[in-house]
């Protein structure tokens, strides 16, 4: 039972991550490979606030989301200045710089040793949320809230402008909207919710180290997004489901652990290549990836 709950908790965390990646990548077609950087920044900020301050969950969550969101300004600045592949490269650079800082700035982040003993979050300031059941409830509620929030976003006027930016920025400018502002919003929201995922992860696992927030993790999140599909809510949620549940299925098949990791990656790779040819909008997505 606890094993299943653990999987559901991780699934909820990945739903947050993939949904927030869907906002810039799926709606506005800004292919950023640095979702894991925001995830990591969120996790490290949370570790600091949970270890040093005794704050209720909502307050910690808001602080972490705002701080992570502010870090996203770097990326949205890049998205305004740079187009296409250059933007992809800039986000890659951002991801690598964040990882290098987490890894090498040992006085603050404890580098490769990681930070251990991160306390659980406190609901309403008193009840310390402990145990797997508590986290199961918390993450499920949060991921449902986020699904509801993001579900309306595409149909809202904001989503309309983002979709327009995806097609043609010049037109958006010529009708009096500043694409830079909307990119700022999109990245801020995306980073903030990735940060929230970081908070949940850090306090649930109670130990973090930089290797959870690598470029590979960013690529993994994008893989989940593209497998599921971009542009709607179903797609990212389904993508998260695939990447979280598939390894467990492989485990049941009885592959040795050393092989399972590589084999699973090969399966993701195959799915990606085949999808790009047969169904570039992903298994459940609405929009095709464009240039």
């Amino acid at each position: 039972m606890e094993y299943i709950l653990h999987i559901v908790i991780m699934l909820n965390i990945y739903i947050l991550l993939v949904l927030s990646a869907n906002l810039p990548v799926g709606l506005a077609n800004l292919l950023s490979i640095c979702q894991a950087a925001f995830y990591g920044i969120g996790a490290y900020f949370s570790a600091y606030f949970l270890l040093q301050w005794n704050l209720p969950f909502v307050v910690v969550a808001l602080i972490v989301m705002c701080l992570t969101g502010l870090c996203s300004l770097v990326v949205s600045f890049a998205s305004v200045k740079l187009k296409g592949d250059y933007f992809v490269l800039a986000t890659l650079a951002f991801q690598m710089i964040v990882f290098t800082i987490l890894y090498n700035w040992t006085e603050v982040t404890r580098g490769p040793y990681g930070i251990s003993g991160i306390p659980s979050v406190k609901l309403f300031g008193i009840i310390s949320l402990s145990g797997i059941y508590g986290y199961f409830a918390l993450t499920t509620v949060l991921s449902l809230i986020v699904i509801l929030l993001f579900g309306n976003l595409k149909k809202s006027p904001f989503g309309r402008v983002l979709t327009a930016i995806r097609s043609d920025e010049l037109t958006v400018l010529s009708i009096g909207r500043n694409p830079a502002r909307f990119k700022n919003y999109a990245f801020f929201i995306s980073a903030a919710f990735s940060g929230l995922a970081g908070l949940l992860y850090a306090s649930y696992i109670s130990y973090i180290d930089p290797t959870s927030f690598t470029l590979d993790e960013s690529i993994f999140i994008l893989t989940a997004l593209f497998i599921g599909g971009i542009g709607n809510i179903k797609g990212p949620v389904f993508g998260a489901l695939v990447v979280v549940v598939l390894p467990e299925i492989l485990r049941f098949v009885g592959l040795p652990d050393a092989m399972a990791a590589n084999l699973r990656q090969i399966i993701y790779g195959l799915i990606l290549v085949l999808l790009m040819y047969f169904k570039p909008q992903g298994l459940m997505g609405e929009l095709k990836i464009k240039n």
Binding site: L153, S156, P157, R160, A164, S167, L170, I175, R177
Partner: protein, 268 residues
């Protein structure tokens, strides 16, 4: 004069390869009239539009825009404004060979052209849902009104409000893009080759739409290669060559001008 363009100079590729796209260009656009800009390929017409609407910077010269409401205001200088600000001042633009936004429905395309940006803040609907719904309905009504006025009662576009932009033919997309310009409260419209690639029936429609724009108090500046269209429609024609306005006059004057005949129209 609604728009005064003074001594615009722009060169690409600095250094020894530099050549001047625009070389001391002057142009006045009178209010409430249709001004047509003609000239050979590469004369700098679209570049001039880019400069007016703020997409091209790094030029020298002055652009002043009489943003005259009821009370006279000092003319605004546009040189240092960003494109979206210029648009909000009331200068709309139809791009050369661009149609509707392909991944939005016709209705969304029209709504997006509105100058009312409220509700576009993310999650705005969480806080003021009722008011936003009212605004959205208002925009929809306005879009339907415009379509009815332009294309008549019960025209087919009213039934196609939820079709995607990319489902319309190119000619229709151009027509509907022009219709979208009515959504924003623009005073000056820059139309870049409204008839290029459009069949003769639609050209008549476009003529009609542009006349309706002027009737609604808007000023039109358009780039056009179709001389019959220009002759029919324009009040003033400016002939552009070598990065300057060489002649300005009525359509008939321009067509009978010897230099325009030789170097642009190709008639002896």
């Amino acid at each position: 004069m609604l728009l005064k363009i003074k001594n615009i100079t722009l060169s690409f590729a600095k250094g020894k390869d530099s050549f001047k796209i625009l070389n001391g260009l002057n142009l006045d656009v009178p209010k409430g009239k249709i001004t047509a800009l003609i000239g050979g390929n590469g004369a700098g017409k679209t570049t001039l539009f880019n400069i007016i609407s703020g997409f091209q910077k790094d030029f020298s010269g002055e652009i002043s825009y009489c943003h005259c409401g009821l009370d006279p205001q000092p003319p605004l200088r546009l040189e240092n404004l960003r494109a979206d600000k210029i648009s909000r001042l009331g200068i709309g633009r139809l791009f050369q060979s661009k149609g509707l936004l392909p991944h939005l429905t016709l209705l969304d395309n029209m709504k997006l052209c509105s100058n009312d940006t409220s509700g576009e803040f993310p999650f705005a609907y969480l806080f003021r849902n009722k008011k936003l719904l009212a605004i959205e309905n208002e925009k929809e009504m306005k879009a339907k009104n415009i379509l009815t006025q332009l294309f008549g009662e019960n025209n087919k576009y009213l039934g196609m409000l939820n079709a995607m932009g990319c489902d319309f033919s190119y000619g229709e997309q151009r027509l509907l893009s022009l219709a979208g310009l009515f959504m924003g409260n623009y005073d000056l419209l820059l139309l870049d080759e409204p008839t290029a690639g459009v069949n003769p029936v639609y050209i008549e429609n476009i003529k009609d739409i542009i006349r309706k724009m002027v009737a609604a108090g808007k000023t039109v500046l358009l780039i056009e290669h179709n001389m019959l269209f220009v002759k029919d429609l324009a009040d003033i024609v400016a002939y552009m060559d070598d990065g300057q306005i060489k002649f300005t006059g009525t359509p008939n004057e321009i067509i009978n001008n010897q230099e325009v005949k030789n170097s642009y129209l190709g008639i002896e």
